[in-house]
């Protein structure tokens, strides 16, 4: 049995689990059974892929099943790229199932979650394996619908219903764009197998159209601005482990779709295609993180931060396109590897952070940061792993976020070698935007961690909070360990990604494991190198020494408190820094153009007793500029067309007749 046939047994088993889950979801043991089965199957899939990669990573195995389109069949294929994304999907899937073993017990209506969860995992696995346009779209829609059902799990909430509706509309729109893109790729002969698309190179106009359609189709699923509107609504609406899957894994499947079409099927890119992707990536990164900073709902903050990371990944992919188009394969390999590395890293820390948010939600019942605070005393383990996630996503060494973002910047620093002036100007500018977004991300996660876990409790729910169950903690600890490992040993990951880069951009990064002391050297020793292990050792030793000295010597000094207590007032917890007040300086700087923010201060007349008020008025510009005109136009048109529903039979006949005559007239008069 070929590897891919073996791998297809996994989704089949997951689908069987989904059907079983629908049958037994009312049993008490159903939660444990379903998540246990999902964990087992994902781990088995992961082991199969790992075995394949360890044995012969370059080998391509394909299978055609007699399903789907009659002359194409359902084709599935495993190559380097799909193997990498299978690792991302199944690693995330197995850890999420581990978390679900504990978290799922708190679910009020398990029968709305359990059947769709394994189906969702199966859908993501199948998308990555699909090797013809029909199977790809079918699996893609299946994935979308399963995740939609999970978003609607708590459908009694009006906001969730709205999120589900917007998600459904955007998912259909994205699939439509993908459908058109595949239609263009298939050409007039209508060859829907990826193997045939790979050899047929479309003309420049068609290639440009396919790129735009893929940015719309895959971008709407991944959350590119301005197609991101559904993401911060839908991801938080689902149960937290599903949010982790959607944000950490499903957006990566969308990126897989983009890479598969643009790097693999489309052939040689034009240099301007890189420009488009880089610019959109940069704008997405900055706007995503600015939105995250303004947010006070913990899960929505994480969802917006996903948009930022998607922007970083797309900018890096755009760089890889630009380098590839200019026949600079080593630089392209660097940018491409950086993008894939960030895909892996983001799946780790975003899942970790959503798990943490889920743990906070379980312990306190709150998602609003303004009602949390001081949780570090109540949830010490959760706080620690959440901190690891925050440090990783803020791209601080020695964790994994730094390693991949550093590689992205190394790729940006090679832009002066590009021949086109447009790229020479745009790439450093986008580099500046990415640097800005990295700094803002750090601020954002200082806020997320500081407001949620530090300070003092802002509500009674926090006072009663208890540490969550062992399954959840184990899942978070595993992810935190992965974040650290990928950060201090990035060389292994980079070497693991080299077959993918070699097959898609024609070159690979230099071998990293051979470097002394596990350093990574992306271009040449003289230009730059980074040693995560060394930084980790330095940070550990210096921090331990500092802690030792402080505790050994500093605490002996006698301290006297001031009588009026001006340093730390023991006032109400509401007087602490809040999420909104923390973000205020940034809102002052960027709010004007990003949100059209306006502050009005309402001070009562002297002598009046009512409180002064500070009112902030913010707009979501993507919504107002792109979506409202469209919805307005649709409303207008449907209003006009509505009375067509109430015509007489003879009028309908007349309409059909006139339409036929007009059609024939057009045919007769066509030049």
């Amino acid at each position: 049995m070929s590897t891919v046939a073996l791998l297809l047994c996994g989704p089949a088993a997951l689908l069987a689990t989904a059907i079983l889950a629908a049958a037994i979801s009312r049993l008490a043991a159903a939660t444990r059974l379903v998540y246990g089965a999902a964990l087992f199957i994902s781990a088995a899939l992961l082991a199969t892929v790992a075995g394949h990669l360890a044995g012969n990573p370059g080998e391509v195995s394909a299978v055609t099943l007699p399903l789907g389109l009659p002359w194409t069949g359902a084709r599935f294929r495993l190559d380097g790229l799909s193997a990498f994304f299978l690792v991302v999907v199944n690693l995330g899937g197995s850890i999420t199932s581990l978390y679900g073993l504990g978290y799922g017990r708190h679910e009020a209506t398990p029968r709305r979650v359990l059947p769709f969860y394994p189906a969702f995992l199966a859908g993501m696995n199948l998308v990555v394996l699909a090797n013809d346009a029909f199977s790809f779209l079918l699996c893609w829609e299946f994935m979308s619908l399963a995740s939609w059902a999970l978003v609607m799990a708590h459908h009694r909430d009006e906001a969730n219903r709205r999120a589900g509706y917007i998600y459904l509309v955007m998912a259909s729109f994205g699939t439509l764009a993908l459908l058109l893109a595949f239609g263009l790729l298939a050409g007039p002969a209508g060859t829907y197998a990826f193997d045939a698309m790979r050899t047929a190179h479309p003309g420049p106009f068609a290639a440009g159209a396919v790129l735009v359609l893929m940015l719309l189709g895959a971008g709407s699923k991944a959350g590119l601005v301005p197609l991101h509107a559904w993401l911060p609504l839908a991801h938080p609406a689902a149960p937290s482990h599903v949010s982790a899957l959607m944000s950490g894994i499903m957006t990566k499947v969308a990126i897989y779709g983009f890479i598969r079409v643009v790097f693999d099927l489309l052939g040689e890119p034009a240099w301007w295609s890189g420009v488009a992707v880089i610019l959109i990536g940069g704008v997405t990164a900055v706007l995503g993180i600015l939105h995250a900073l303004m947010e006070k709902d913990l899960k929505r903050l994480l969802a917006y931060s996903t948009i930022e990371n998607i922007g970083v990944i797309f900018a890096s992919l755009g760089l890889a396109l630009a380098f590839k188009a200019n026949a600079m394969p080593s630089a392209a390999a660097l940018a491409f590897t950086a993008a894939l590395f960030h895909v892996l890293n983001h799946s780790f820390f975003k899942s970790l952070l959503f798990f943490g948010a889920g743990a906070v939600l379980t312990a306190t019942g709150e998602r609003d940061m303004e009602k949390l605070g001081g949780l570090i005393h109540r949830l010490p383990v959760t706080s620690f792993v959440f901190l690891v996630g925050c440090v990783s996503i803020s791209a601080l060494p020695p964790f994994n976020g730094f390693a991949s973002e550093w590689l992205v910047f190394q790729a940006i620093l090679r832009s002066p070698e590009l021949p086109q002036w447009g790229l020479k100007v745009i790439v450093p500018a986008v580099g500046g935007m990415l640097a800005l977004s990295a700094a803002l991300a750090a601020a954002c996660f200082v806020k997320a961690f500081g407001i949620t876990f530090l300070g003092r409790a802002r509500s009674a729910a926090v006072e009663r909070a208890h540490e969550v169950d062992r399954w959840s903690l184990a899942a978070m600890a595993v992810l935190a360990a992965f974040c650290l490992l990928a950060g201090i040993l990035p060389g292994f990951v980079i070497d693991g990604l080299s077959p993918v880069a070699l097959s898609l951009v024609g070159d690979r990064m230099p071998v990293q494991i051979a470097e002394p002391w596990l350093s990574i050297v992306p271009i040449a020793e003289s230009r730059s190198s980074y040693n995560g292990l060394l930084v980790f050792a330095f940070i550990t030793i210096s921090a331990s020494l500092a802690a030792f000295f402080i505790h050994r010597f500093a605490s002996h000094a006698v301290r006297r408190g001031i009588a009026w207590g001006c340093g730390f007032v023991d006032a109400v917890p509401a007087a602490q820094y809040t999420a909104v007040s923390f973000a205020q300086p940034i809102r002052r700087v960027f709010g004007g153009f990003a949100f059209r923010a306006r502050e009005t201060v309402d001070i009562p007349a002297p002598g009046a007793l009512e409180p002064a008020r500070l009112k902030v008025d913010m707009h979501d510009l993507a919504w107002e500029i792109f979506y409202q005109p469209i919805t307005g136009a649709i409303d207008f048109a449907t209003e006009r067309l509505n009375h067509l529903q109430f015509l007489t039979i003879r009028r309908y006949l007349t309409l059909v007749f006139l339409y036929l005559v007009i059609l024939l007239l057009v045919l007769a008069l066509w030049p």
């Binding site: 109430f646 007489t648 039979i649 003879r650 006949l653 007349t654 059909v656 007749f657 036929l660 005559v661 024939l664 007239l665 045919l667 007769a668």
Partner: protein, 220 residues
């Protein structure tokens, strides 16, 4: 193919178009049905002539079906329905005869222009036949659109089907399955619509489909 066979086929197809025109200005139901029966007879002749010149014997069956069902069974059935409903005195055109005739001429011109343009390489007989068939289909639709009475809409629908049969037999090598299915679809449509007529009649005491509009509270 010699000139005479071609001319006869042409003559028959052309007279079908002419009879379709005759249907346009019949404002009495009996007259309309009689003209339809004539239409079916000419169709049967045309199909038989095609069978003869193409040497395709199965087309005789089609011709027989057209003659028996469309020229005899269905008109007789419709006659009886009209008598039972007592609507044989109704005069019912929604659009005046003059404009209808003008529209019909326009439609025939359109189908001629279109067919002669899109089929330059085809066999000349099949080409002319297709052009006539399209005219008959469009005229049948026009009858359906300009009538208010359900019975005359049925007749318009069936004359439209006649055009389809003409098109199917004009081209060489059409399998018999097509014609049988067409014939049966007409029969079934006739039965279904007949049943519906009685249901409409039962409920609204009229087969004027304008009554349906009144029932829905719509203006005419």
């Amino acid at each position: 193919m010699n000139g005479l066979t071609f001319d006869i086929a042409h003559l028959l197809a052309g007279s079908l178009v002419l009879i379709s025109f005759m249907m346009l200005y019949q404002d009495r139901l009996f007259a309309l049905i009689n003209v339809f029966a004539l239409h079916a007879v000419v169709l049967a002749l045309s199909v038989a002539w095609q069978a003869y010149i193409q040497d395709a014997h199965h087309l005789y069956i089609t011709a027989a079906i057209a003659l028996v069902f469309k020229a005899i069974v269905i008109p007789v059935g419709l006659h009886r329905i009209i008598q039972r409903l007592g609507i044989h005195r109704d005069i019912e055109t929604a659009v005046g005869i003059g404009p209808t005739m003008l529209a019909g001429i326009g439609l025939v011109t359109l189908s001629m222009v279109l067919m002669l343009r899109v089929t330059p390489e085809a066999d000349p007989l099949a080409r002319e036949d297709l052009a006539f068939a399209l005219s008959i289909i469009l005229l049948g639709l026009l009858v359906m659109v300009t009538r208010r009475n359900a019975v005359s809409q049925v007749v318009g629908f069936m004359s439209l089907e006649n055009g389809l049969v003409l098109a199917a037999t004009g081209a060489k090598g059409m399998p018999l399955v097509v014609e049988i299915s067409v014939a049966f679809s007409i029969l079934i449509a006739f039965i279904v619509i007949g049943v519906f007529l009685f249901r409409i009649r039962e409920r609204f005491d009229s087969v004027d489909i304008g009554a349906l509009d009144d029932y829905r509270g719509e203006r005419r």
